[in-house]
Amino acid sequence: MRVYADNAATTYLSKTARDKFIECLDNYNGNPNSLHSDGQRTQEVLDEAREIVAGCINAAKPNEIYFTSGGSEADNQALLSAARGLVKKGKKHLITSNIEHHAILHTMAKLEKEGFEVTYIAPESNGVVDPAKVEAAIREDTALVSIMFANNEMGAIQPIPEIGKICKEKGVLFHTDAVQAAGHLPIDVQAMNIDMLSMSGHKFHGPKGVGVFYARNGIRLVNVIEGGAQERGKRAGTVNVPAIRAMAEALKEACDNMEPNMKRVAALRDRLIEGLKDIPYSQLNGDPVKRLPGNVNWSFEGVEGESLLLHLDMLGIECSSGSACTSESLDPSHVLLGMGVPIEAAHGSLRFSLDIDNTEEQIDYIIEKVHYVIDHYRSMSPYWEDLLTGKREHCVPEYWNGNK
């Protein structure tokens, strides 16, 4: 059996998005900046995409939607715009969390080198950021708060409406990296007081290399890419119309079917959680309820994530791990460490990210094979032997207690 359970890394291209992509390649090959008929017909397709995307997140106007190369570019532009735009007004402080994507964290680090001050808020042990801590961190000179909508690794959904309300009251810009949330959770930028938001097409069955930067009108934007006057002069480069239109189609499809999809995928997620919780000395990472419908992130003591991942792949199951050996650095996941998961448990973590095409049969297969690989690698682990004999101490409880 083959089971793709790495949808947080990327999703397959949906058939409707693919059809739209091909349709654009075949019929709308003009440059939307051209004034002739071919160009203008293509411009109409681009306008249509902008309207669809604006509608899906309830943006006040379609012109608040800027198309980018992906979520990372949108994250960069949001942070650079807030910082460099407001520094003239004496605002040189930024707030974020320590569990953000590197597109946020590395941009923040760059701004720190430029002289900005950044406050990194650690989430609670369930992976959820406390809005009161955000409020307490806001200062007179705070330019921006950037907190992700939902975490890519352990799935915790952040209190976006609460943080949005606080930022509005305090007069601070609010950006959210909604790369994992868009198309999977309801988003209303007006009701949630979101000033800027990032999305990535391939996380909701659209194409790769295309994303969305939403910025409420009235925010002065700084360009990341200079050149022509595309995207209201805020993002240069000939517009990738087929990818954009296909992404819009994928987002529309995801939003139109969101309620039944969420219900179906969350049921699969909970089936997997139920099936794994009898493994001793293991735990679910992240809040069990305030959680992306498809995310299951589990730590197993005494074993290392990369070996589990490779063996599961041999058995047909594709997932990911937060272990150091699967990262480019020597440390395990900054997200798991950032929320207080012990480093030994972070090394032994697996992430399954499920989606609408997964089945109950596949979940049962994952449960069976995870039990098998955990037993297998624990049997050859000197660390597990030390835990059993009491030579080393356990760092997670014998049975996961629901994160209570």
């Binding site: 994530g305 490779l310 050996c325 660390y383």
Partner: protein, 141 residues
Amino acid sequence: MSLYTDKVMDHFENPRNVGVIEDADGIGEVGNPVCGDIMKMYLKVDGDVITDVKFKTFGCGSAIATSSMATELIKGKTLEEALELTNKAVVDALDGLPARKIHCSVLAEDAIKAAMVDYYEKSGREMPESLVGFEPHEDEH
């Protein structure tokens, strides 16, 4: 190209010499759970020959594969020959490792050396000069 060579994947999928030797003549353990890898090696020595070797490893695919290959390279060899084993020989025998996995092979070499030190200490035989004062490499973390 995939991350690991066919040889690495073969030794990961079917690791040789996994287990413990109950009446081992030398036992060596290196690494720690914070760094995410621990290797434990067991040696059985008869005269000057390593007649049996077993290992247990907590770690990634390459940690398991390098442990397995290292045991293969010293099994049946003399103590003198085993002392010559370098991490590079393990890497070469596996047809290479990604750069950031080289430390796994260093760990494997160190685990064998640690087991040999234990053997010389327990047996009371004179420790070869190259093992005197042996310290495993700092685990990269």
